[in-house]
């Protein structure tokens, strides 16, 4: 970075008699006007984006909730009370937790193990492997769900949590390995080399040195995998059949249809409960890493 030169041009310009002394310079006035236009534009877009979000929050506490955004006449927690039963909320959320927690754990462990040799050792196989991984990150998983279903029926994995967890992990692995490898490349090699000379095995140096040093990276991979699985509808919708096995992503559809009229207030309350964990996780990681979730950096071309 070159040292910054003192700014001689600005004082000489402000001294020119054309500009009245008490107003701002034209440049700064232009900046201000520009900022106000930008603010106004953004707020208009935000207003459009916020309406559906406002609906779900307001309806969940509105005694007479319907499909329209409006301030409730009377605030009530009745909808939350109505949905907080073992059948409606607790079991589906526990199923979600089991599926996504299991899937995420498997993803993170496999990704960390796989990323280590890819990041640390030179091999002719690294490049083809990474290219395949990158290719797999962008395959439309939706398209293979019909054959996965047919395959799971054949090998008796259909309607089991284990099968769904394994598939969740496999579908999330390519991106997790890619991210993990990139984060691992950022950890300097010197510390590990010191450990190697002291007789540490690669596994020990991965567990004791590399992973602790890339804590934020591991957090990003974990949270990202979990959030993707938590919100995924199609995979459990296809691979699970029994209602009491279903995660919240699928069971939420019960609010529609089979009972005739839809109680929108309860649907909204359930949506809030179901969405809160992922929003909190996202906020937690984003605050530690400063916006962007490091995803912008991970996918930039």
């Amino acid at each position: 970075m070159p040292t910054r030169t003192p700014k001689p041009a600005v004082p000489s310009r402000t001294r020119t008699p054309v500009v009245p002394a008490r107003t701002r310079t034209p440049a700064s006035r232009r900046t201000l006007r520009r900022r106000l236009t930008a603010d106004a534009g953004l707020l208009v877009v935000a207003a459009a984006f916020v309406l559906p979000l406002a609906w779900v929050v307001l309806s969940s506490v509105d005694a007479r909730a319907d499909l329209r955004v409006r301030l409730p006449d009377s605030v009530t927690l009745a909808h939350y009370e109505a949905v907080l039963t073992p059948d409606i909320t607790v079991t589906p959320l526990l199923n979600s937790l089991l599926l996504c927690g299991g899937g995420t754990a498997l993803t993170v462990v496999c990704a960390a193990l796989a990323a280590y040799p890819l990041s640390r050792f030179r091999s002719r196989l690294n490049r083809p492997f990474l290219l395949t991984i990158l290719f797999a990150t962008s395959l439309p998983i939706t398209a293979i769900m019909v054959p996965v279903y047919a395959l799971f029926v054949r090998v008796n994995l259909i309607d089991t949590h284990e099968g769904t967890i394994l598939f969740f992990a496999a579908s999330q692995l390519p991106f997790a390995i890619w991210l993990m490898k990139n984060f691992m490349d950022g950890v300097p090699k010197e510390l590990e080399e010191a450990a190697w000379t002291d007789g540490a095995s690669p596994l020990q140096s991965l567990l004791r040195i590399v992973l602790p040093l890339m804590g934020p990276g591991v957090a990003v991979v974990t949270v990202f995998s979990f959030v993707m699985m938590w919100g995924n509808f199609f995979v459990p919708f296809m691979l699970l059949l029994t209602p009491d096995q279903m995660p919240a992503a699928v069971s939420i559809n019960e609010f529609f249809g089979n009972k005739g009229t839809v109680v929108y207030g309860q649907l909204a309350a359930f949506s809030v409960i179901y969405s809160t964990p992922v929003i909190l996780l996202y906020v937690g990681v984003a605050r530690r890493l400063g916006g962007g979730f490091a995803l912008g950096g991970a996918v930039k071309g």
């Binding site: 559906p52 990158l134 962008s138 395959l139 019909v146 054959p147 692995l173 992922v278 916006g291």
Partner: protein, 296 residues
């Protein structure tokens, strides 16, 4: 001391132990990703059905011939195209870039607020996003309330323009991704360059066209590829909002595939459609890899 100094293990053995940690991931990927893809290729050429069939038989290209002759399939291809162009290429991409550019000039509280709202829409589970936008577009919903208040004509959006309603839903849900990618890209343009252009008297539009866009063109390419691929595989959002209806007027390829395979029990035919979707996705993936080729 287990190993005598000066005598490293045999190179082949060494590379084998080094490759060992990659095994669990490789096994999972082969069994649950490569396996289904191979299976997809093999059953796309059969007449496999869901139930009541003793033996499925090889039918060659019959499923593909059926597909291209099928009015409903051609409709689904067309709708997928509309959905992708309107919601990803025009909607998410342009709005994401506009938001990223505006955010650089906006004041900090506005930036935080707007970023928070847009990203929340993105983080929400797909099905919840579907419900929110279902409520928004319904006849009794918020959009009509707003239009009514502005004195504009209202209509039953999910019935009259279902594909447009689901496209807007996808814009609402997906714009944050483009916004994050472009924010990162714009941060990397050196300030000196834009300032120099400004001093030389280049207006806003010319700066955008001749400086900003060329400098972030790689990010634009990457972003377009990724959002196209994401949009091609949207299922839950449309399923919740319209079930592909009314009368197939918002039935994109994933929904068509699902209906053929499960509601009509034609697994072979549904898989053939899936294979076509997979081929299109792979072509996009290859282009994406070429865009990134210097990175690996």
């Amino acid at each position: 001391m287990t190993r005598r100094p000066g005598r490293p293990p045999h190179p082949a053995l060494r590379s084998l132990t080094r490759a060992l940690p990659v095994t669990p991931a490789t096994v999972l990927l082969l069994l649950f990703l490569a396996g289904p893809i191979a299976y997809c290729v093999s059953i796309a050429f059969t007449d496999l059905q869901l139930t009541g069939q003793a033996e499925d038989s090889f039918v060659g290209l019959e499923n593909f011939r059926t597909a291209f002759g099928d009015e409903a399939f051609r409709n689904a291809v067309w709708l997928t195209l509309v959905f992708t162009v309107v919601s990803a290429l025009l909607g998410q991409n342009t709005l994401g870039l506009a938001l990223a550019a505006l955010m650089r000039r906006a004041s900090k509280p506005v930036r935080t607020l707007v970023g928070g709202i847009v990203v929340t829409a993105w983080v929400l589970p797909e099905v919840v996003a579907g419900f929110l936008l279902y409520a928004f577009f319904r006849r009794e919903g918020t959009l009509n309330a707003v239009l009514d208040w502005l004195g504009l004509p209202t209509q039953n959006w999910l019935y009259t323009l279902p594909i447009l309603a689901v496209s807007f839903a996808n814009v609402w849900r997906g714009t944050a991704f483009s916004m994050l990618v472009y924010s990162a890209a714009l941060d990397e343009i050196p300030k000196e360059i834009t300032e120099a252009a400004e001093v030389d008297g280049a207006g806003g539009r010319r700066r955008l066209w001749h400086i900003t866009l060329p400098m972030i063109r790689r990010s634009i390419g990457t972003n377009l590829m990724l959002i196209t691929l994401q949009t091609l595989s949207v299922f839950g959002l449309i399923w919740v909002m319209t079930r592909g209806g009314p009368g197939g007027r918002s039935q994109t390829l994933p929904l068509f595939m699902y209906e053929e395979a499960f509601q009509k029990s034609m697994i072979g035919y549904g898989t053939a459609v899936a294979l076509l979707l997979l081929v299109v996705g792979s072509l996009f993936s290859v282009v994406y890899l070429r865009l990134l080729r210097t990175e690996v």
